[in-house]
């Protein structure tokens, strides 16, 4: 029983990370119908920048409380990633706004490769150790162990989603975003500048990615230039699973994917009598994705929108 609860907890933490990253994918898709493949690499840049900041703090003021170090590192990583995202949007996506949909998809992949290569040059190709900034002694919750940093992931993911929902449904920027999502031309006629809204969306997503990058690097104590790629792919899967373009769907998809993966890795060996090992955990995740897409092509919570097939 303890094992099952622990596996569910593992899945919840992993799923929260996926959800946090999936929010960025789904927000951009909701407005532009563009899959921003560079999103995972923006996350990696966030982790790397925060690591550099931590290194500087250690050199200049090593007695700074660790929690404060974490806050400072994140506070630097977020605006850096926002600026990078704004630049990416301006250089790689905006000139292609009215071209066929495949063109920006290809530039997105190009940007992803460029970011990875730059990071490899700047921060070296070797895995870098990310320090523990929170106490490492785990809490026990209902028979499952949860480290403080994992609890932080759960809290931050929940807060981010709630904040994002509030922003989109209650604020002026949110209303403008919804308007641009529905029809950029009409929104423009109503006095909304779609380019500015789109840039804002990218920056918002990048800010979330930077936070996710810090959390992921701290959770696994490792940061490397390739860390964003697979994570981005999984988060994209989560976004599709939940219904891309839908914020609640991104969170639901992320959590579902995380839990399926954890249970898959934990039990696949016993279930198949050792025929399939735990390295086949992705089979479960993608099998579920296929089944969901067969019965609900627009994802779990995706709406069927006629003009956007």
């Amino acid at each position: 029983m303890d094992t099952l609860i622990q596996q569910l907890m593992n899945g919840l933490v992993l799923g929260s990370v996926y959800a946090l990253v999936a929010l960025g994918y789904t927000m951009v898709y909701g407005i532009l119908q563009l899959i921003n493949f560079a999103h995972g690499d923006v996350l990696m840049i966030g982790a790397m920048v925060s690591l550099t900041v931590l290194g500087i703090i250690k050199a200049v003021a090593p007695s700074t409380p660790l929690v404060l170090q974490l806050v400072i590192a994140t506070a630097v990583a977020v605006p850096v990633c926002m600026l990078i995202a704004a630049a990416i949007e301006r250089i790689a996506y905006r000139p292609l706004r009215n071209s066929p949909r495949l063109a920006p998809l290809i530039t997105a992949i190009g940007v992803s490769i460029i970011l990875q290569t730059l990071a490899m040059i700047i921060w070296s190709p070797n895995p870098r150790v990310y320090p523990d900034l929170l106490p490492t002694t785990p809490f026990e919750i209902g028979g499952a162990l949860l480290a403080p940093k994992q609890l932080l992931i759960l809290v931050v993911a929940t807060l981010s989603m709630a904040g994002l929902l509030l922003l989109i449904n209650k604020t002026r920027l949110g209303r403008a975003m919804r308007a641009v999502s529905e029809n950029p031309r009409i929104a423009n006629l109503m006095g909304v500048n779609p380019d500015r809204i789109i840039t804002a969306t990218f920056m918002l997503g990048a800010g979330l990615a930077a936070i996710a990058g810090v959390l992921v690097a701290m959770n696994y104590n490792i940061a490397q230039f390739t860390m964003g790629f697979l994570l981005g792919l999984k988060a994209f899967t989560a976004a599709v699973l939940g219904g891309i373009g839908n914020l609640g769907g991104a969170v639901a998809g992320g959590l579902l994917l995380g839990i399926i993966e954890a249970l898959g890795a934990g039990y696949i060996g016993d279930l198949t009598g050792g025929f399939l090992g735990s390295h086949y955990q992705d089979i479960f995740a993608f099998a579920v994705l296929i089944v969901v897409l067969i019965f609900r092509p627009s994802g779990l919570l995706g709406e069927r929108v006629a003009d956007r097939a």
Binding site: N10, L145, S278
Partner: protein
């Protein structure tokens, strides 16, 4: 136009004949001298070039020593020359370098450094009938391809895994042992041999889990392992995966000992695992190490190496030195530098090297190759003992 062409070719012919005449004359004057080419391959460029250079220096020192020793084979004085090639630790470049050495008609090859380059190159040497001694390739496959020309002077991963398996049961008193590997050729191989070693020593493997060499989240497989209450966890893979894995074991309060092969046995693991490294919690092994009377021999060799080559022994240069010596020893025994004739002598050689006694089993692996067992204490790697 035409005339000049004809003239040129006549001139060329004349030149050639006179050159041939001189060559015959020279050969006639000194019939008792012969030059023997020995090849060496290692990565002289790229990220592990420092190891390749170290190997090359070992070969150079051996060749210099041999030429000083005034060796006569089949009544002729033999001068050895070293032809050194670069494989950049890249399998493609490795096979190209191997072909170059075969074309240059070397009588034997010392190398390569990595298993990844040694294995594909070994087919080329085997086809050409040229003996190859690797100083450092540890993948068991190298000598298991059925080639008669493949030899190595280090213990392979199979020995390493087996020794660690027995150590887990006999010394660490592991009652229930869990095994994880990263599904790479190396990780899987060393983990399989570890399991065999555990079972041979009467121990029990209670769980076998898998990950990849790019994974960072091991919480699920570790939770599954925790349910089986292991006292030893073995990981076949590299330090960049093993470090975070150790930390996650702490997060799940798994207090088992942690073991691994040379992939995790690095200085980098100290940073990667940090506090989770513990004291005498992590045990790992590396091929190599000398015991008893050879300790002094090795120390003397290191001193002489530094004096002659102007650099410290980095890792495998003593193995390269011995590999060259063993090869030439078998040429002396066969009284021939012809690969066909000295190869059978190499297969049954008994030689006292710097690294210890060298003899090969029927596959070409060194008999009784040594391993050094390490643990980590107070954030430092410590050699525990050398195992034969």
């Amino acid at each position: 136009m035409f005339a000049t062409l004809v003239k040129a070719s006549v001139a060329k012919k004349l030149l050639l004949t006179s050159a041939a005449a001189i060559a015959v004359a020279v050969a006639g004057c000194a019939p008792k001298d012969s030059t023997v080419k020995i090849g060496h391959v290692g990565p002289l460029t790229g990220s592990i070039a420092h190891l390749g250079k170290d190997n090359e220096a070992g070969a150079k020192l051996a060749i210099a020593d041999l030429n000083k020793a005034d060796i006569k084979i089949d009544g002729k004085k033999v001068t050895f020359t070293l032809i050194s090639e670069d494989d950049g630790a890249d399998p493609k470049q490795g096979t190209a370098a191997a072909q170059k050495l075969v074309d240059a008609k070397v009588v034997g090859v010392i190398g390569h450094l990595n298993s990844g380059t040694t294995i594909p190159a070994s087919k080329i040497y085997s086809d050409a009938g040229i003996p190859q001694i690797s100083p450092s390739a540890t993948n068991p496959k190298y000598t298991q391809q059925g080639f008669k020309t493949t030899f190595r002077v280090v213990a392979n991963d199979a020995t390493l895994g087996g020794v660690l398996g027995k150590y887990a049961v006999n010394e660490l008193k592991g009652k229930s042992i869990a095994v994880i590997d990263d599904r790479t050729a190396y990780g899987q191989g060393v983990a399989d041999e570890f399991v065999k070693g555990v079972e041979a020593a009467g121990g029990k493997v209670v769980d076998r889990q898998f990950t990849t060499d790019k994974a960072t989240d091991f919480m699920s497989i570790l939770t599954a392992i925790r349910a089986k209450k292991p006292d030893v966890v073995f990981f076949g893979g590299m330090d960049a995966v093993g470090g975070p894995m150790l930390r996650q074991m702490d997060q799940l309060k798994i207090n088992a000992k942690f073991m691994g092969g040379d992939g995790i046995c690095t200085g980098e693991l100290i940073k990667l695992a940090d506090k989770a490294l513990g004291n005498s919690r992590v045990f790992c092994a590396e091929a190599g190490g000398v015991v008893g009377p050879y300790e002094k021999k090795m120390a003397d060799f290191k001193e002489r190496f530094k004096k002659e080559m102007g650099a410290d022994v980095n890792l495998y240069s003593p193995y390269v030195y011995d590999a060259v010596m063993v090869m030439v020893e078998s040429m002396k025994k066969a009284n021939s530098t012809d690969p066909k004739k000295y190869l059978p002598e190499l297969a049954k050689i008994q030689y006292e090297g710097v690294i210890g006694p060298i003899a090969f089993d029927d596959k070409g692996d060194i008999k009784g190759g040594t391993l050094t067992l390490f643990t980590y204490k107070d954030g430092k790697r410590e050699a525990l003992k050398v195992i034969q």
